[in-house]
Subunit: 296 residues, 2 copies
């Protein structure tokens, strides 16, 4: 029996871990490494993902294409794949952190070439070892075509509501987790700049102790991911604006992550980071990088 083939684009932290789980379940997993970083090549090789040459080959060989990439790249990638697919008609599963309207744009671009799309959103960290892995929410027509992924050990959860429903859920969820992290960064950096960081820490330890623990656990590991979150926060802003809510909160959250990205903490990688051990380290380093402080 021929192995079923699935493409995972791109093999970053999440994509390579999903690919690895599918490889373990007997799928042939391919990717296109044209112009990818040495880190992506290494992650793909370690995961057992096979490199193929270009998107035309990828689209021709894969029954299913999983798109897992920074949100700003999602629509452009779908268009490139549609253009390269020729007569091939792989099922396209968009798992990116994008606004429902962006998901609908992607569905339209693929649909114009006769390619079906399923809308998805990933909540939780990459699947590792015996871990159940993230919840992968999916919406659209023909969700039964993903049963093979569920059988392979991915936690696929079907939603009603059609294209955009899974993306909308991801946006709302991420607005809470990454929004709270941005609020904590802004408050703690401002307190440092205003000279009341110790008082704020004492007051929070007394009245909001869960927030202190959360900041220590999450702020150091969030900084190296800030560059990826800028585009995601802008997608959240668009999502909220589309239903009549203010986009300003998440435009501002994007600003916070853009600021973090440009600091020494934002330039570290998840694998090599070490400048900050707790929230106090994070706020000290970021406060020193404030534009106002620079002009002193």
């Amino acid at each position: 029996m021929t192995q079923a083939t699935i493409a995972v684009v791109a093999p970053g932290d999440m994509g390579s871990a999903i690919g690895h789980r599918l490889v373990g379940a007997g799928w042939r997993v391919i990717t296109d490494l044209t112009d990818r970083s040495p880190r992506s090549r290494q992650l793909a090789a370690t995961a057992g993902i096979i490199a193929v040459d270009g998107l035309a080959t990828l689209a021709g060989e894969a029954e299913i294409v999983l798109s897992v990439m920074p949100p700003a790249s999602a629509l452009a990638f779908a268009r490139r794949l549609a253009a390269a697919a020729g007569a091939a008609r792989p099922l396209f599963v968009d798992l990116n952190a994008i606004a429902p309207a962006t998901a609908q744009d992607i569905a339209a671009a693929l649909g114009a070439r006769g390619i079906d799309m399923i809308d998805g959103g990933i909540i939780g960290g990459p699947p590792r070892g015996a871990d159940a892995g993230p919840r992968i929410y999916v919406a659209g027509y023909g969700l039964a075509r993903l049963d093979g992924l569920r059988d392979a050990g991915l936690d696929i959860r079907s939603m009603d509501g059609g294209i955009g429903a899974a993306s909308g859920l991801k946006m709302c969820y991420a607005s809470l987790t990454k929004g709270i992290t941005a609020l904590q960064i802004e408050a703690l950096v401002a307190a440092r700049a205003l000279g009341c960081a110790e008082d704020l820490h004492a007051e929070l330890s007394f009245s909001q102790n869960a927030l202190v623990a959360r900041a220590d656990a999450w702020l150091p590991q969030s900084c190296p991911k800030a560059y990826r979150w800028v585009g995601e926060m802008e997608e959240i802003a668009d999502t909220f604006a589309a239903v009549g809510l203010t986009p300003d909160i998440f435009r501002g959250v994007a600003d916070i992550y853009r600021f973090v990205e440009a600091t020494p903490l934002g330039r570290e990688t998840p694998e090599t980071r070490g400048l900050a051990q707790d929230a106090g380290d994070v706020s000290s380093i970021l406060a020193a990088a404030l534009p106002a402080a620079k002009s002193d």
Copy 2:
């Protein structure tokens, strides 16, 4: 021995409770009820606060004036008091949720008339019964002049840093508590509008259960206070902008509370509210009030 006299302006929830504690400790507590609501008159009377006629009388009789009011009123009130004080020189204690720069503007307006100011910020709910009450942070010169308030059972905490330090602390703290509440309102209302509210609730119950409990506890009781928080969120935006951080998050948070204020939930009072029992009720009612939904 003559009773020491203190003025509390205005006797809302917080001001009347602080006044009541001071009355209990033997202070003579006065206020000016000119143009105040029947609710404020009732709160003052219940607290044992004595009404005096106009700001000139108030300034002439009080050794200390505590300003406890919505932030948008704080500077205008200080100016009116300075203009009305004549030869009187009460110590002015600003306890409002204002930006450090606003506190400095108030200190300057009072200083021009020879009136000393102490900068303060209140964190926590009104003092009730045997409860320790809120932490009242104070900064500036002559903090020993507040020892009588501490002796009366108020939790007064001195800070270094001069005028603006206590206000800065209050801004950073409130940005977390009221910011997280606004993020929850926006996410849950958006999910309702996008048709994924049940899925979001299930996912949050699984992976962020503390947020579900927090939303159910806080969202219903926050809506009647939204009108008061709009100005406070704008002061937070100004505070963050002054140190080089984005003001957009809290301009957006102010938009959220402005939106809530105009809904049936925002028009309830803390004493009479009853439309919403949990976060699900809040998001349903607010989603029905969205501009986009109205145009259907």
